[in-house]
């Protein structure tokens, strides 16, 4: 479901926002550090700070709808994944290198738009909690005409 080129983009080190909502339709959101696309191209794993994941799980336990906004700051290329929460687990040690690689790439991109690395050095990227999401829809999110269109 997730095409090859998009899969590479999603794992390239991006600004990742996770959005959920409660029973009163109050939305809540948190940042995630990394994302990996599963081999079946229908699921993704999202890596969050445990406290951020805890907040999201308070909603996801009852309301599994989830949105993921992914954006590259230097180009503002962006897309939105909609899906349903499947499960949560602690991140495993072999996954740490990939989380740190993506966060490093994201920090480098922020530095290119003038946000010094000293300001992002405090991000606590490990340990992580992993949310498994079944992707149901993909949307173009790059600002401008066509934003919001469904991706093929």
């Amino acid at each position: 479901m997730i095409p090859d080129e998009l899969s590479v983009f999603l794992e390239s080190g991006l600004s990742i926002v996770v959005a959920t909502r409660d029973g009163e339709l109050q939305p809540n959101g948190a940042v995630a550090w990394a994302l990996s696309v599963h081999d079946d191209r229908a699921h993704v794993s999202v890596f969050l700070h445990p406290d951020a994941a805890k907040e999201m799980l308070e909603n996801l336990g009852s309301y599994p709808q989830i949105a993921l906004d992914l954006d590259l700051p230097t180009s503002h290329r962006a897309c939105q994944l909609k899906g349903l929460f499947v499960s949560a687990r602690k991140a495993r040690a072999p996954e740490r290198a990939e989380v740190e690689r993506q966060l490093e790439a994201f920090s480098a991109d922020l530095a290119a738009i003038g946000i010094p690395r000293a300001l992002t050095a405090g991000w606590s990227s490990w340990p992580c909690t992993v949310l498994k999401v079944r992707v149901t829809d993909l949307f173009e999110q790059t600002p401008g005409p066509g934003a919001g269109d469904r991706l093929p």
Partner: protein
């Protein structure tokens, strides 16, 4: 609740913010926000530029969550919001509109990347996100200081100091340099320029600049183009911080617009001044609602102007405008009086070399375009070009001394009866020659008097 007014630095657009919304069917959505404004202690406004999912959601369900980042600490804040209304006119809308239009014109997107409304939200709560802090708590990590943050010092003392410098300037020429020099010395603004109304309608010309490698004297900006043109068009100050990020956002829109066939031509205009400014501040120079010109301040770092600084800037702009207009009127009234020698300014062009003195200089005047080329390169156009052509021709016939009064009476120059701006045109011409053609010099010899000096042989060529 954390006071909203303590987060004003978060509203400068330096670090992207994002918003989460939810449809009535319960599908959440997240999006990066282009522009957020602090409205008052209980409200914020978000730009509405496209009818996107965020907009559709808040019309169905007014609840939203906004995440802001403090640009000095990267500390994140969670704001719970409730959508209240969309404003399509008024001060809030106009202020947001001007900033977005300025960015849009730089990107060739005027009319496409435009503000449709300012969406006003009530802030229900503000909370620090403890786990979402960028700057490490450990000692020894150097966080870059926020340049000029606390300290764009619009204090009475600073304004008094600036006022004293302005009062001491004996001529318009000195006044323009004195304003820019004072802005750097007192306020720390290293890059600045003053553009005055041109003899062509709806255009401004750069007459004085400071801090740039190329002075750019004579550069033109059309009304509505970029931050300077928008200030001229709207008569209101505009400040843009985090400009690189906002330009990237606009370029992303431009790319999509081109792909959609909405913006087929590359209509980007070059930024005057710094190649990649991080901040720009434009201040209209107004006297009784008449635009005298625009003061533009740029930074290669991000300025943090506070909301209340806008008031100071508008007052300052009015004061500078009156000072410039008074200098113009005084010079006209006191023509033919000797003036004190002009203090030497570091930005002056070095005298020509012996080699350039020896080579003849071709000056071509294109009558239909009212444009002069020197050695085949564009020099000046409009009224300054006609003045230069006239005095070069008269000099060839033996006249070396000129007066503003005589120029004013010359019907061939077609000066308007009122507000001919002759003095500012002459300053522009003299400075333009210093920058681009130092073999021709205009030397002021008294109030309303000047002398033409040539450093080499000049060939005058008139073209149709």
């Amino acid at each position: 609740m954390i006071p909203l007014e303590s987060l004003t630095s978060c509203f400068q657009g330096i670090i992207p913010a994002w918003i989460c919304t939810c449809s009535k069917e319960g599908i959440p959505n997240a999006a990066i926000i282009s522009c957020i404004d602090y409205v008052d202690t209980r409200h914020v406004a978000l730009s509405f530029q496209f009818f996107n999912k965020t907009k559709r959601n808040i019309l169905e369900n007014p609840k939203a969550m906004l995440r802001l980042i403090h640009p000095d600490t990267m500390q994140a804040y969670r704001l719970l919001l409730r959508f209240v209304r969309t404003e399509t006119d008024g001060a809030l809308f106009e202020s947001m509109f001007r900033r977005i239009e300025a960015i849009a014109s730089y990107s060739g997107l005027k009319g496409i990347f435009k503000l449709l409304g300012a969406d006003v939200y009530e802030v229900l709560s503000v909370e620090l996100i403890a786990y979402d802090a960028g700057v490490p708590a450990s000692a020894g990590v150097s966080v870059p200081p926020a340049p000029l943050d606390a300290a764009v010092p619009f204090t009475m003392k600073a304004l008094q100091e600036l006022s004293a410098c302005i009062h001491q300037a004996p001529t318009l020429d000195c006044l323009l340099d004195s304003i820019l020099e004072s802005l750097e010395r007192i306020f720390g603004f290293r890059y600045s320029m003053i553009l005055l109304a041109s003899d062509r309608p709806d255009r401004l010309e750069l007459i004085a600049s400071r801090g740039y490698q190329q002075g750019g004297i004579g550069s033109e900006v059309g009304f509505g183009e970029g931050i300077i043109g928008m200030v001229a068009e709207t008569h209101k100050p505009i400040r843009i911080s985090g400009m690189l990020r906002q330009m990237l956002y606009a370029y992303a829109v431009a790319q999509r617009a081109k792909e959609s066939g909405l913006c087929p031509e590359d209509r980007r205009i070059p930024l005057p001044g710094l190649a990649h400014p991080e901040s720009q501040l434009g201040i209209p120079l107004l006297v009784r609602d008449e635009l005298i010109g625009v003061l533009c301040i740029e930074g290669d770092a991000t300025y943090r102007f506070h909301e209340e600084d806008r008031t100071y800037l508008e007052v300052l702009g009015g004061y500078l405008a009156i000072a410039i207009q008074n200098a113009l009127l005084r010079e006209r009234a006191e023509e033919d009086e000797p003036i004190p020698p002009r203090p030497h300014s570091g930005r002056r062009t070095k005298p020509k070399t012996a080699k350039t003195e020896q080579s003849p200089l071709d000056i071509e005047f294109f009558v239909s375009d009212e444009c002069i080329l020197a050695r085949g390169e564009y020099l000046v156009r409009g009224l300054p070009a006609k003045i230069l052509w006239k005095i070069l021709r008269e000099q060839a016939e033996g006249t070396c001394e000129f007066t503003n009064r005589r120029l004013r009476l010359d019907k061939g120059l077609e000066l308007p009866v009122l507000k001919d701006n002759l003095e500012s045109r002459l300053i522009l011409l003299r400075r333009r020659l210093e920058e681009r053609c130092p073999d021709i010099r205009i030397v002021q010899s008294g109030r309303g008097r000047f002398r033409l000096e040539l450093g080499c042989e000049v060939n005058l060529i008139e073209r149709p």
